[in-house]
């Protein structure tokens, strides 16, 4: 530690800290544009010039390390003079267009100009004219306002891991942009909007729609992945105008993924309904709550009376809040049915009895960046949990050995020590690493571990998992979708155990952990307690049929991994209640009543993230029209069905009931079991994932997100050699058959897909008619 003085205040500072860091911690304001605590130091704007005793010239506070006895003056005449002069230079080429600039009112430059600027410009010459590049659907540009702080450039390079924006040319001819016309495609791209200290990069969807002084910022939590990013919704009147990150160092730092930021726009979809709707013989009718809820309750009652409770079930979306999931399972169980499930993207439930209380990361999110070694099994972490990918990237750049075993090679934006592509023989590849790990540990091979040839790559992965301080084996989303999830999980845990590494799960839904703890699984109640009635998982319900179904915040035609089977089960059911904000054509087809709930940000709730952190939030704005918080709808349904325990008056009452779940931890101990993996014989193997902007109904309806390059179209992605193999070379459309379903899909030749496989994404309308996820497909001419 060193002792310094800033403006006469004695401060203790860390060795090597920059003056600006020490000042920030002490709450002493130093103006700046290019400095940002999460980015490298560029020291190119010169706005933070300060006076240092015994130094002739003013020094940039962001690039001046503290030294013992240093005396800094941030407001002395010399410092102020330097800051004023810098500002005058920065304003030379800056347009005086604040009244039509979206940054107006929250602009660092505008504020500095008020604080340090002169009231009359001495600059009478012509200003620089710059063209504005089109960077895509999310970022609007006005590059004439750019002051070349290069925060956006450094963000791409250092944080997003995709160096897309750069500073080309030099001196007065410097331009920030992509140089060759191109969009900015990083999944974290819109953070540059927050970073830009002027109005050069602004939010395209929010453009010209509001002024910061009209907005009220209210906190919220993002439900689109298991991170639980903290955000701030800016509200004007009753409308959400935009979403910004809320700084939370241990979760999302200062960032937000584009998905978290722009998903709210899905709420403006034309399919959104704001009044309950009932299907009568004459067609769909908007109605009032009383008749709709009575209609729903009567329908469910009829099923109960005629077919008994075993024919009643509930499917819960994995973005639903803990309270909603809890009340849904409570209702089902009060009616005598254990048929409740939220794992709609999974097909393999063989090991559900042995699982921990909830899918747990096995560590804190912030610990990811301190990993020295990691093996991710079935994960495209960068697109699935962008902010966790960003953490892992930091670990990799620090020298961490990050390895993947994936069904196909994904492009990562950090150094990957090994990526084993295991399209057909995933279980064997993981078994090979397990064998290598056990050999290194000198442990016995447990009964039933599949035979596998151990190669150099497997040994290298096992060795990396044994060296260094912090290591982890993480099970990703692709493993969750796979029919051999049980085997993959058991072997992942075995590898972790024998290497002394953490075992963790990257849950596939935004509130998977919360849904488990709330009891939205057929075999466990709230807080992982045993249940009186063992229910059926969603897949058994879909395959064996149920007569009455309650859907909570899910669209099975897109969310379920077996969309065709799911919609058929819904159509065959006698009565379907959909609590969903959107009335899609599919929902109008299978549902009998649609009850519009408040969307996230419109109602209070709680989400549990992958580290087991409970985050409660209030609604930021009232829901539109007649839409009501889903927990209230469930509560009234409970009353109408004479269920016991539905007297809650506020969401706090629901939370009080959940208190036992709060205390439940996950030990992540997965006992060994003898695997019996399914085999895939013959035919072409379908590889599947949910593309980043197809994960839930809100994201799928966010127009700007759907215009990005990451919005992956429903198509067959296949290597040329595979097409030739099945005599379809050169075809631009093919008929794909999987299970009982088939679809006509465009072909996109992609040599990154392993030969003998096709990649067909889930979660899209085009692929909704297919019979499953991972599995064998047949292809013929269109």
């Amino acid at each position: 530690m060193v002792n310094i003085e800033i403006n006469g205040i004695k401060l203790e500072a860390r060795d090597g800290a920059m003056v600006i860091e020490v000042a920030d911690e002490a709450g002493i304001v130093i103006p700046r544009f290019c400095y940002h605590k999460k980015l490298s130091i560029a020291a190119n704007c010169r706005m933070c010039l300060v006076e240092v005793e015994k130094v002739a010239k003013p020094l940039p506070a962001c690039a001046t390390p503290v030294t013992e006895g240093m005396k800094v003056f941030t407001h002395s005449p010399k410092a102020l003079g330097a800051q004023r002069a810098v500002l005058e230079f920065l304003l030379i080429n800056h347009p005086l267009d604040c009244p039509i600039c979206d940054q107006g009112g929250e602009c660092d430059l505008q504020e500095m100009a008020i604080g340090f600027g002169g009231d009359v410009s001495r600059y009478a010459e012509g200003k620089r004219v710059v063209t504005d590049p089109d960077l895509g659907a999310l970022i609007a540009t006005d590059m004439g306002r750019c002051i070349h702080c290069t925060r956006c450039v450094r963000f791409g390079q250092e944080v997003a891991g995709m160096w897309e924006l750069g500073g080309t040319g030099r001196g007065e001819h410097t331009r920030i942009g992509t140089y060759v016309a191109d969009t900015v495609d990083s999944e974290l791209s819109a953070n540059v909007v927050d970073l830009c200290p002027v109005g050069a990069l602004t939010s395209k969807p929010y453009r010209y729609s509001g002024r910061p002084w009209e907005l009220v910022g209210r906190p919220g939590i993002s439900p689109h992945d298991c991170v639980g990013a903290n955000l701030r919704a800016d509200i004007r009147g009753k409308q959400i105008m935009r979403v910004l990150p809320q700084e939370r160092e241990e979760i999302n730092e200062t960032w937000l993924a584009d998905r978290d930021r722009f998903a709210y726009l899905g709420g403006r979809s034309a399919e959104r309904i704001t009044a309950p709707m009932v299907k009568r013989e004459t067609g769909w009718q908007a109605t009032d709550w009383d008749s709709a809820l009575t209609f729903a309750a009567e329908g469910l009652k009829r099923v109960l009376d005629v077919h008994g409770p075993s024919q009643l079930g509930a499917w819960v979306g994995d973005t639903a809040t803990v309270e909603e999931a809890y009340l849904t399972q409570k209702l089902m169980r009060a009616l005598g049915s254990g048929n409740v499930d939220h794992r709609l993207r999974q097909v393999d439930f063989r090991d559900q009895e042995q699982l921990p209380a909830f899918p747990y990361l096995g560590m804190a999110i912030a610990d990811l960046e301190r990993l020295d070694g990691a093996l991710l099994i079935g994960s495209n972490i960068r697109k699935e949990q962008p902010l966790l990918g960003q953490r892992l990237r930091k670990a990799a750049l620090r020298g961490g050995q990050i390895a993947f075993i994936n069904p196909r090679a994904y492009p990562f934006n950090f150094p990957v020590s090994q990526q084993i592509v295991a399209a057909h023989n995933w279980v064997t590849e993981v078994a090979a690493v397990a064998r290598a790990a056990l050999a290194l540990a000198g442990e016995e091979i447990p009964e039933g571990l599949p035979e596998a040839e151990v190669g150099e790559a497997h040994e290298a992965i096992a060795a990396a998992l044994r060296s260094g301080e912090q290591r982890a084996v993480l099970l990703g989303n692709l493993a969750a979708y796979h029919p051999a999830q049980t085997e993959l999980r058991a072997m992942a845990a075995l590898i972790a155990r024998s290497c002394g590494a953490h075992f963790g799960v990257l849950a596939e839904g935004g509130n998977s952990a919360g849904a488990w703890l709330a009891g939205a699984v057929p075999h466990r109640g709230m807080a992982a307690q045993p249940t009186a009635v063992m229910g059926r998982d969603w897949r058994s319900m879909a395959h064996e049929g149920v007569k009455g179904l309650l859907l909570l915040s899910t669209e099975p035609e897109s969310d379920c991994i077996e969309p065709l089977r799911a919609t058929q089960a819904l159509k065959q059911a006698d009565f379907v209640v959909a609590i969903n904000a959107f009335a899609s054509d599919a929902a109008r087809d299978y549902a009998d009543v649609i009850l519009p709930p408040a969307l996230y940000l419109e109602a209070a709730g709680t989400l549990v993230n992958c580290e087991g952190r409970w985050q409660s939030f209030e609604g930021t704005t009232p829901p539109p029209g007649e839409a009501r918080p889903a927990w209230k709808l469930l509560r009234v349904l409970g009353n109408l069905l004479n269920a016991i325990g539905f007297e809650q008056l506020s969401i706090t009452d629901v939370r009080d009931e959940l208190a036992p779940a709060l205390a439940v931890g996950a030990d992540n101990q997965i006992p060994w079991r003898v695997p019996a993996p399914p085999s895939f014989e013959g035919g072409i193997m379908r590889l599947v994932d949910y593309p980043i902007y197809s994960v839930d109904g809100l994201v799928r309806r966010s127009a700007p997100l759907q215009q990005t390059r990451d919005a992956i179209a429903g198509a067959v992605y296949v290597a040329g050699a595979t097409l030739t193999q099945v005599d379809l070379g050169g075809a631009d459309r093919v008929r794909v058959m999987q299970g009982e379903g088939e679809a006509l899909l465009p072909v996109i030749v992609d040599e990154a897909i392993p030969v003998g496989c096709v990649y067909i994404p889930a979660g899209t309308t085009a692929t909704a008619a297919l019979g499953g996820g991972f599995g064998v497909v047949e292809m013929t001419h269109a």
Binding site: M162, W163, E164, G166, G167, T168, R170, Y179, D185
Partner: protein, 166 residues
């Protein structure tokens, strides 16, 4: 994906060999240090200028993001990013040359070649450019023709230099 759009087949085997020699001067994990040499080599290979495709090829060859190559190529005036004549004439108009008469040099060159600064003659022989200080103030006014410096210029010496070029 963005990282990989360049086509390294645009680099001739001779250029590859030359770039590889430069790469070998640097630590194995820092081959991007050869970017300036690579840009020069490909500029020569391409008749004096660099296309986007060639810069992308360098990016792919040196395993760096294309934008990083563009940043370097646009920063230095020695790299030309548009087609140019067989002979590149760079006239210094910075302070020392200005004081010693670079304005007359520019005027004479423009009149003699019939083009303005930044233009190329119709026969594709000469491209005339204005550059900042080339570090030859002692011989001001000066110009650089291709890789040669010519100092203490007068209309007569300029004519002689131009006449000597094919």
């Amino acid at each position: 994906m963005k990282q990989a759009r360049g086509n390294i087949d645009l680099i001739t085997p001779e250029s590859c060999a030359e770039i590889d020699r430069w790469i070998s001067n640097y630590p194995a994990d820092q081959k991007q240090s050869a970017v300036m040499a690579a840009l020069r080599i490909l500029q020569d290979q391409n008749g004096g200028w660099l296309s986007h495709e060639l810069m992308d090829a360098i990016a792919a060859y040196l395993d760096m993001p294309p934008i990083a190559v563009y940043e370097v190529a646009t920063f230095y005036s020695m790299y030309r990013l548009e087609p140019c004549g067989r002979h590149k004439i760079n006239v210094c108009t910075n302070i020392s040359c200005l004081l010693c008469g670079s304005e007359e040099v520019v005027a004479h060159l423009q009149e003699r070649l019939g083009i303005k600064l930044g233009e190329t003659t119709a026969d594709g022989k000469f491209t005339l450019s204005e550059v900042e200080c080339l570090g030859a103030c002692v011989g001001a006014p000066m110009m650089q023709v291709n890789r040669d410096y010519h100092e203490r210029l007068t209309p007569e010496t300029i004519d002689a230099i131009l006449d000597s070029l094919q």
